[in-house]
Point group: C2
């Protein structure tokens, strides 16, 4: 079990506790418990069993608290959704309930000191992972939980109750975050994401690094000031400041995006925000671990040293690219397996789940970052594997990870609320907190505005100033920031960071999250935009839009060609058959690698991101060098589908498929020279 299990007979207290949660009335009851009688040594064995049983019950009851908290959150959220109340997102609500239960646990229930905790004063020169204790002839096995600072030793014995609802911080990283991050990757709205790829990468990589260093420098100034005023109670080095900068640079606008989704805000803004937040999580994780790894040689471990800096930078690059490669590799392996594994939905889904999980474990076992690997695995799965799954499995996997994401997210947020009161080493320093908020604001501004200015120089479809303000405003901090900050709370600096981070998350989720609707209307950002409707508008906008696409996609044109012509046909059942894309000399190989389905599917290409670069039949526009006269929509449509056909690319594809030669142009796209003699294609056209 994941709990810190300590035996105590606070059973009655806990029973009362869940009853309390059940009726959700913050009534403070303090349960006084008679101390258990001294046990007979003959009954020792039974007593040990009883203890284990009690401990198990305790664990169940503790976990039940969280389950009921989540249930309560769901019920309230249902009420909110029913009444279209948008000021409080489910995560914000989960935090509030967590806070309430935290207050009850902290002030409502007093469990007296447990006599069964013993401090051993045997002196070693190491702390072994496993202890075998010889208790009057019987051996008991103990495992290391962690170090406890000297001033905590009394707390350990006093606050049993609070410690019991404290999870091992690694639970967040190893159990709760992976499904959240995977789901983010798996549900990236790919079309708009790829369209804005350049900007997203700029915000996520450059922006996060800028934000991290700006916040780090500002906090260092703040800390130096605090030291001079005498407000600082412990060490706080520059690396600590940078670490703080890294962890609070991970944005998580889950609240904002939920509202965006509901109100159907502009898809480009959505893609920018979502893409940035997904990728900067990955950047922040690797960045923070690289900062921790900054270890100059010699005794003075907090000086500046070029070698150590380079090493940290190398670690950043190595870990990031390693995790990236691993995630993509597992995704591709899954795609290849699922290429053959059709028809058995349960097996498909189970395999998908297991392979995605093993990405995480593999990355962790290799010393990379599991969360980052899982993110890129999710993106790869969505891009390739998803196309190979049966429609039922597509639904199943989507729904499964949606559920896991929902549960994990709300669990983390309610735990955040709880921990504000139950965590025992909070260091709330007003100066540091104010400094942090100011630094956060400046750091976010230094990320968004200069980068937007630079990006706008290259973009024709400018990121307008109201979009920039919105992005600035939507820089919420959430699950990732929390998980990074709770991971290590051993030192004074880390404790102060943790407490401040909690406040930052609360403030941004409640205030910024709650004010999204107001901000949207204040910034006059279009709502109610259907993503497809948006496309048909773009057709009307004409030439300006065209070159925009050309620009924003230039980074990926080569990749896209390669992916569409070779990777997709090899890894999935969609895409054009390889026989059409490979040069004629590779005929036999191409025929071997192309699945029969690819030939069958060819007439009705179902490529989700087919309009990633191409849109509305305007091949000649996007690819200026290929001059084919498939001149925009409406030229050779059969029936009244001229504009309606543009509503979904599938329709358009199918529509055009009943044309003549141009069909093949579109179907196999960018494939020159045309191989008209290809029998399967010809058969397909004639259908």
């Amino acid at each position: 079990m994941v709990f810190k299990v300590t035996v105590s007979s606070a059973r009655r207290a806990t029973r009362t506790l869940w009853l309390l949660v059940l009726v959700s009335l913050p009534v403070c009851i303090s349960v006084c418990r008679a101390s258990s009688p001294q046990e007979d040594s003959a009954m020792e064995n039974i007593v040990t069993e009883k203890k284990a049983e009690e401990s198990h019950r305790q664990d169940s009851a503790d976990l039940l608290i969280f389950i009921l908290l989540l249930t309560l959150t769901i019920l309230t959220i249902w009420l909110f959704k029913h009444r279209r109340f948008r000021f409080l997102h489910e995560t914000g609500l989960a935090m509030i309930y967590g806070l309430i239960v935290g207050v009850i646990l902290r002030y409502g229930i007093h469990v007296p000191r447990d006599v069964s905790n013993v401090t051993l004063n045997c002196h070693f020169n190491a702390s072994p992972a496993t202890l075998l204790v010889n208790v009057s002839g019987k051996f008991y096995e103990y495992t290391l939980k962690g170090e406890i600072s000297a001033n905590e030793v009394n707390d350990v014995q006093d606050n049993e109750m609070l410690r019991k609802v404290t999870f091992d911080p690694e639970v967040f990283f190893n159990i709760l975050l992976p499904p959240i991050i995977f789901h983010a990757g798996y549900s990236l709205k790919r079309r708009h994401f790829f369209r804005n790829m350049g900007s997203i990468l700029a915000y996520a990589f450059l922006g996060t690094v800028i934000s991290c260093f700006i916040i780090g420098l500002l906090m260092y100034g703040c800390v130096t000031l605090m030291k001079q005023v005498g407000q600082l109670g412990g060490d706080f080095f520059f690396t600590d400041c940078l670490f703080f900068g890294a962890i609070v640079s991970a944005t998580d606008p889950v609240t904002v995006l939920a509202i965006f989704n509901e109100l159907q805000v502009d898809v480009d803004l959505y893609a920018l925000l979502f893409g940035e937040s997904v990728l900067n999580d990955a950047v922040a994780v690797v960045l923070s671990s690289s900062i921790v790894a900054y270890q100059p040689e010699g005794d003075n471990s907090h000086t500046f040293e070029v070698m150590a800096l380079l090493k940290s930078f190398g670690i950043f690059l190595g870990v990031f690219s390693g995790s990236f490669a691993l995630g993509v590799a597992t995704g591709i392996v899954t795609a290849l397996i699922s290429f053959f594994l059709r028809d058995f939905q349960l097996l498909e889904t189970a395999l998908f789940f297991l392979m995605s999980w093993s990405t995480f474990l593999l990355a962790e076992a290799c010393g990379f970052t599991g969360v980052v690997a899982v993110l890129f695995c999710g993106i790869t799965q969505a891009h390739y594997t998803y196309n190979n799954l049966s429609p039922e499995s597509q639904d199943r996997t989507k729904q499964l990870f949606e559920l896991l994401n929902f549960l994990a997210e709300n669990f983390i947020f309610s735990y955040m609320g709880l921990t504000l009161f139950t965590f025992q080493n909070h260091v709330f320093n007003p100066m540091f907190i104010v400094g942090a908020f100011v630094a956060l604001f400046i750091g976010r501004a230094a990320n968004i505005y200069p980068l937007s200015f630079l990006l706008n120089l290259g973009r024709r479809n400018k990121i307008r100033s109201n979009f920039q303000h919105m992005m600035m405003f939507a820089g919420l901090r959430g699950a990732m920031t929390f998980a990074l900050s709770i991971r290590d709370t051993a030192t004074y600096a880390r404790q102060m960071m943790f407490s401040t981070t909690l406040l930052v998350v609360f403030f941004t989720v409640w205030i910024c999250g709650g004010g999204t609707t107001q901000m949207l209307s204040c910034q006059r950002i279009r709502v109610g935009v259907d993503s497809d409707q948006d496309n048909s508008i773009s057709v009307g906008e004409g030439s300006e839009r065209r070159s925009t696409k050309q620009e924003s996609a230039w980074l990926f044109r080569i990749w896209y060609n390669f992916d569409h012509n070779y990777l997709k046909p090899i890894l999935t059942h969609s895409g054009p058959p390889l026989t059409a894309t490979l040069p004629p000399c590779c005929g036999p190989l191409a025929r071997f690698l192309t699945s029969p389905q690819a030939f069958e599917n060819e007439c009705q290409l179902k490529d989700d991101d087919s309009d990633l670069i191409l849109r509305d039949g305007d091949i000649s526009l996007t690819y200026g060098d290929i001059t084919v006269s498939t001149d925009a929509s409406g030229a050779h449509t059969s029936g009244g589908l001229a504009f309606a056909g543009a509503s979904t690319s599938d329709d358009l594809d199918r529509e055009l498929a009943y044309g003549d030669h141009e069909l093949v142009m579109r179907g196999t796209r960018l494939v020159l020279p045309m191989d008209d003699s290809e029998p399967d294609l010809a058969a397909c056209v004639s259908v």
Copy 2:
């Protein structure tokens, strides 16, 4: 994490390990590892961090082994399904792969003794749950893992690798079994289940108790003999024998049922086997815990004592009924909540999942048996909540638990294979093993044949002898037996039981499971029976069948009436409106309690178990006392649906709905007197 975490730097060994599994070649590689250099005391902090990191990597790698095992199982299963190869079920295959990896771990990889394990020889008079160890001024927290017998102390230090892949036995009970059992309850084929309810209950309760005591007595004879021959190496009391009887009485014909499903074997046989195996799991769990609780007073704790026996019996009744009540109660609460919570599928599904999980936790926290509570919760959810869910959520919940069941089941079976080699305290005693197999055979026979004889006295639809042989043959032992036996392996008796149980599971799953197809054809049991086709045949069979139904259902007629007329309308959106079923004097109350949907749905009653008692419109047959002349199907059908209409009861319902008066008779069924003036009903008829 659930692993027994012990720090060692066997990282390279583990990396090799998963690579091994990945290519699934049982190549034996022994990795020799240079011992790590003595650490500088100044670097102690970093070393501790490094250790924790290594330990985490190790855990990830260990878990990865299992994930890859499961992946391998899935891939092979896919191959088997693809080739319609039925001799080996996925669970049997999972065991084989587990065995292979177990052999590799045991004999292939030698990890040298870890120096960081230290045996403390401080003498206490108790074993505290938490130890604080003062290591040269720093405090480290240790938690109790459990007792280790003196002769194991060396093993602990020698066989790191094997201990690392050993899960806490409670994981099976608290994490893996609940979804399996819930899924069984949730997917009980209710119509046929209820039709054979009496027989199923007889087999599950009486049969399991008979089997438990027969096996217990036989094993006691065997053990006494062993003692006299000098084959017994430790204590083995009568209660131990009974305990063994209880745990091996839980049948789990998952393999058999999979084949039944595929071959569409007779639905009654399926219902009997499935119902028995689901319920006898619950009986066996409670029975075994009652036997453990048998504690006569005084020092000699293994004498016969009436009071202790009565107390054990009381515990059995108390725990069983408590768990039952709790499961049903949570199910009903969920039904009531989901009654209102429509339209938001994700919330519905999440709530369903959380409430079902909290049943388990609540039962465990209250001292009842979570697994039993979860079973009855599942049945209740299927009966009530399921009807309130939106169609999407119905699919989602079914698929979710199907997946969880699949993963958990295969995990348990592959772990079973693994543990045959990695468990370090096996006691294989040939005499005990032979005795156990004989006892198992006799115990199963004493369950099936006498009970079938007695039941056949009351049943008109006899349980034929070939069915009896098949039930005898299908008494496989599986996940539940394993989980019960691994839970406590502290004493010699328990270790011998565990080893024997493993062999029993292997034998029954491979031999009996693999021979199912042969047994079916050998016993000439009909295959390819469509459950609906079966119904239409029953129409042809005429009078004999009619009274069968009447008899087999007599236990539940009262309950069914109550459930159908009052509970279903109150708890779900299906069933007749209360206004039709309650006496006219309760009109206002009835109108208050009936949901608008109930009125709407009324015309097309979608009651899955509507033909639980009634079938083919033969009201007058089943309910001899209610003489309404809705005489059988075909009398007033419109169109050619006379017999085709019988193919699904929904169709028949809808079909009949276009008739006249009799519609209402069928729609609200068993409701006398008719309230023809009811406006909604009238409106419904006229539709």
